[in-house]
Subunit: 254 residues, 2 copies
């Protein structure tokens, strides 16, 4: 299988490397960013490409892993290419690719990718969608190269998944950051919190989050919450976040 | 070592079982709640005790794992007991135990405990504090029975740790719940998010959270954030949480 990778960000990088490891050939990496294109091309023994004129139009698969708002413009460049075109976006409808390739669809890995940390893709849910049954079958086979967990998900459902992932992943990570900031201000090491963070994620692998909620808000421990807000006196933003999330916990567990 | 466990909640249960497993004897479980006292007493082959008159005053260690606001009242009952008295609270000053036992201090496990899920305590940071050096030495030895990670932490620092843990653990878990709620409303399975949640916690074991932040807010992807707020139209509370945390991410990464 010959693949052209369009984009050179976190998702493009992880997918291209994973497909390469499964025996596919990454023939080109197209990117606006010449430096990133060169890095990813070097990692996957592909050719970096900066102009649409140089695009190889005979590949089997085109992976469009660019910023959401750039997808339609990329799609218009992929009219008439030989292979299947997929985008990897959680928040973009499949129809953004309308008319691209010999079939088009979505290959959305429900995971958080940073260039600095490796991810085992084999357990990552890949949410797929396609313009027609034959394309779906092909995309499914392609997704199964990387993961055991492949789910057909509509554009509407995918939007919700992406939104839910923002709450569960992006926002949680920011809470880790805010807690690290608090510790730093008081000469305490973030290491102290790491086992707690792991255990919090571990717990909900086998229980519903609402069943394992702990802390002052779920106990309605007014005294502790009052003390916490006092400790946050210098940080009105953290106070607001504390109050809002505590209120939300209380409402959930009323 | 003979231990009296005062309290029968999550922390009391996990600690009593762990000390028992290390060869200590839990001689009594005191609790206001007779049913919980009986359960924990049965698990640890201890005697359940409901009245202070029945308290064995000759134990080596008294673990006070009750609600924070009940600690001073319990402490006053422990004047003159033979052993050391420790509380396990993150948010309560050590001095709440003033005068209890032959020495007093704090044994605060920085972890989230639910009765339904087991915890390997050996990597859990135990934050300890004591009224004097000799007591500290004893509490340190006791903590090392359960964990390799024992840190001397002052009451002031412990308050901050506890507050940081509310952000990193209690609030994150609530975000998991909110995302599960979103999925349920759209007939999607929470299982789809579990690998993402694990990876999010995994990532910060070896990187700073701010270095691995992903999502629309850190990219300042206005279009996606607008779409997300539209999807949340029926849930003003989730909209407020979304806006507040996104704003906080944007400010952090300006």
């Amino acid at each position: 299988m010959n693949i052209v990778c369009i984009g050179s960000g976190n998702v493009a990088t992880h997918l291209a490397i994973a497909f390469k490891a499964m025996g596919a050939e990454i023939i080109q990496v197209w990117s606006r960013d010449s430096r990133n294109a060169e890095i990813l091309a070097a990692l996957t023994k592909a050719k970096p490409v900066l102009n649409w004129e140089e695009l190889d139009r005979s590949a089997d698969l085109y992976i469009v892993a660019v910023k959401d708002d750039a997808i339609p413009a990329v799609a218009s460049q992929l009219n008439g290419v030989k292979g299947i075109v997929v985008h990897t976006s959680g928040a973009t409808a499949m129809t953004a690719l309308y008319g691209a390739g010999s079939g088009y669809g979505v290959l959305y890995p429900l995971q958080t990718f940073s260039k600095t940390s490796s991810v085992n893709l084999s357990n990552v849910p890949f949410c797929i969608e396609a313009d027609r049954p034959e394309t779906l079958e092909k995309i499914s086979a392609i997704a199964h190269l990387l993961s055991q967990q492949v789910d057909k998900v509509s554009s509407e459902q995918r939007k919700i998944l992406h939104l839910a992932a923002v709450f569960a992943c992006n926002f949680s990570n920011h809470l880790y950051h805010l807690s690290n900031q608090l510790l730093e201000q008081h000469q305490l090491k973030f290491d102290l919190l790491k086992p707690l963070i792991m255990q919090t994620a571990q717990k909900i692998q086998h229980a519903l989050p609402s069943e394992v909620q702990t802390g002052p808000a779920v106990r309605d421990d007014q005294e502790t919450m009052k003390k916490h807000l006092e400790l946050l006196q210098g940080s009105p933003e953290l106070q607001r976040i504390y109050e809002m999330l505590s209120d939300s916990i209380k409402k959930t567990h009323l």
